[in-house]
């Protein structure tokens, strides 16, 4: 899996790169419009992370170029500008997703995962880890071909964990994922703890080959047994 990061802010670019390398992706970077334009003209990428505000050019123009070549559907726009206009324009130009800075690395992983899944499994949007299959479209969980009932939040949490396999997810990142934007009360951890407890119980009872470890005081990590 080859991923291109187009981001002018060096520190952020390196941070994202380091995180993506942990996911065993091949990562390339571009710091400005010109070099990004060169790279997308020559190579194909499975996913492109695109910052809109770039030195010597606008990210949306790059997107337009990608659309011309029919390669815009695997772009995730990363922007500090949570502007509805840019979002609409970007998505109209075929971008797959729009992520507003600042974001948690786990959130970025989940988004990239979704893009790659849609690209590679054409129509069948599932995450498979060991004996666990999570169908994103149908919103169902099957373990050893047996259906396990999850409530909405449990499903979302498991989806997030499976997209961040073997990565540490902090409680705050998880809370934000569960509660979404503009939430003032992301400190409401009891509820999340309770959901995870139930989820772990269900996984254990069904003999799933994955486990959600709790790393005390910090967060959680999903690993294969």
């Amino acid at each position: 899996m080859k991923i291109l990061i187009i981001e002018d802010e060096g520190d952020l670019r390196e941070t994202i790169k380091e995180s993506l390398l942990k996911e065993k992706y091949i990562v390339e970077t571009a710091a400005d419009f010109t070099s990004a334009f060169e790279k997308i003209s020559i190579y194909d990428y499975d996913c492109i992370l695109l910052d809109i505000m770039l030195p010597n050019g606008n990210g949306l123009d790059l997107l337009e170029e990608l659309k011309k070549n029919g390669k815009s559907e695997n772009v995730i726009i990363i922007s500090a500008k949570n502007s509805l206009d840019d979002k609409v324009k970007g998505l109209a130009l075929g971008a797959d997703d729009y992520l507003t800075k600042p974001f948690h690395l786990a959130e970025l992983n989940a988004r990239i995962n979704a893009v790659l899944r849609r690209k590679n499994f054409k129509g069948k949007d599932c995450i498979e880890v060991e004996n666990v299959v999570l169908d994103i479209q149908e919103r169902t969980l099957t373990i050893d071909n047996r259906n396990i009932h999850l409530n909405k939040k449990e499903f979302d949490i498991l989806n997030y964990f499976l997209s961040n396999k073997n990565r540490l997810i902090t409680k705050t990142a998880l809370a934000e994922y569960v509660w979404g934007d503009h939430i003032d009360q992301a400190d409401n951890f009891d509820f999340i703890y309770y959901q995870i407890k139930n989820l772990r119980k269900k996984l254990e009872e069904s003999n799933a080959q994955i486990i959600i470890e709790m790393i005390y005081g910090i967060g959680y990590k999903l690993t294969e047994k």
Binding site: F103, H104, L105, T172, D184, Q185, A186, N188, Q195
Partner: protein, 428 residues
Amino acid sequence: MKLLNRSLIYLSAVFFIIIGVWSVIFYFNLKDEIRDSIDDGIDNNRLLILIKVHSDSTLLTQNEFGGNNFKIHPVSKEKALAYRDVFKDTMMYRLNENDLEPVRLLNSAFEHNDQYYRITVISSLVEEDDLIEDSFWSVVSLFIILVVSIIIVNNFVLRKIWNPFYDILNQLKTYRLDKNEKSIEINSNIKEFIQLQEAANTLINRSKEAFLSQKEFTENASHELQTPIAIIIGKLELLLESKDLKDEDANTIANVINIADRLKRLNNSLLLLAKIENKQFLEEETISLNETAKNLLSNYDELLAFKQIEYELDETKDLKVKMNPALADILLSNLIKNAIFHNKKDGNIRLTFTSEEFIVCNTGNPFSLNPDTIFNRFEKDQTKKDSTGLGLSISIAICNSYNLKINYGFAENQHCFKINFNNILAQV
């Protein structure tokens, strides 16, 4: 007090003094003039009588006034020679008036055929008290006529002249810096009003610049903070994953991430506030708030169950409004989330939709929040440190941008927020 009335008071006072003094002077002048002319008349009468006496000596026997205006008495030569012509005022009985009336009287003496006579000629005088009374009422009516005409002039003419002023005043009253309105314009060629208009416009432009730069500053500052915060969070998350990290260090890092997250939420909220105030949510749709609220609630099913909070919907009407869907979502979700997070165990929430109001009531702390400060920025429950305290400010900003009224009330252990949507109701 209106300027018109104030000038009326001053003018009336000045008129009162001028007319008062003038009428006194006029009265005495007039009286003198009348007396003069009566005296001339009496003197003339006397001469005529003296001429007549030569042809008609019976006149000499007229020693009572009778019907005439003179009487003649014979007197001794010494007395006659000592006489000087004297005019004087006196009172005489008048039959028709049945009263003593003022008369003007001339005492004189003359010689006829070596005989000396004293002659007294009278003429009725203008009745002074009548004159005073008449002129008093004339002056009063003059005064009233003047004041009335000033009022008329004030109300019809001056008001018309002052129109541009009231025009400027009205425009200033309704001027909103945030609405990007045109500058103030009036239709007048009066120098003072044009100066006033220019001064008002200069002031408006300066305030507008300050307002805009302040708005831009908030937005730009928040924007610029996004990337550094993203870097902080990203780097800390990577650091947290490094293998040889002591437990306490990991805890510290997690804490810092938590704080950075709070910073991020704060910044997001400020940015959202700035955007609402900068009117960046333009497109409007017809939205059923009942549906919006139900969608939001369905996201909280598990949480409501977890906190054992019951909720009920009271849908008397389908509340349809015309507003930006994102803002409608944020507005309702802020209030609903508040109702959930500030609730207590086994509490309840009630959402009411009337034909123009949305009311959310919830149980919670058994005492009222301060309705004067609750909507202030950064006002928060001191026990909830992680809260940004901007949730309600955002709701207020949204309400303000649509001129909606939002109220807080506490009754029967229920905290209620009520929003009236009557000016953006969708036409049915």
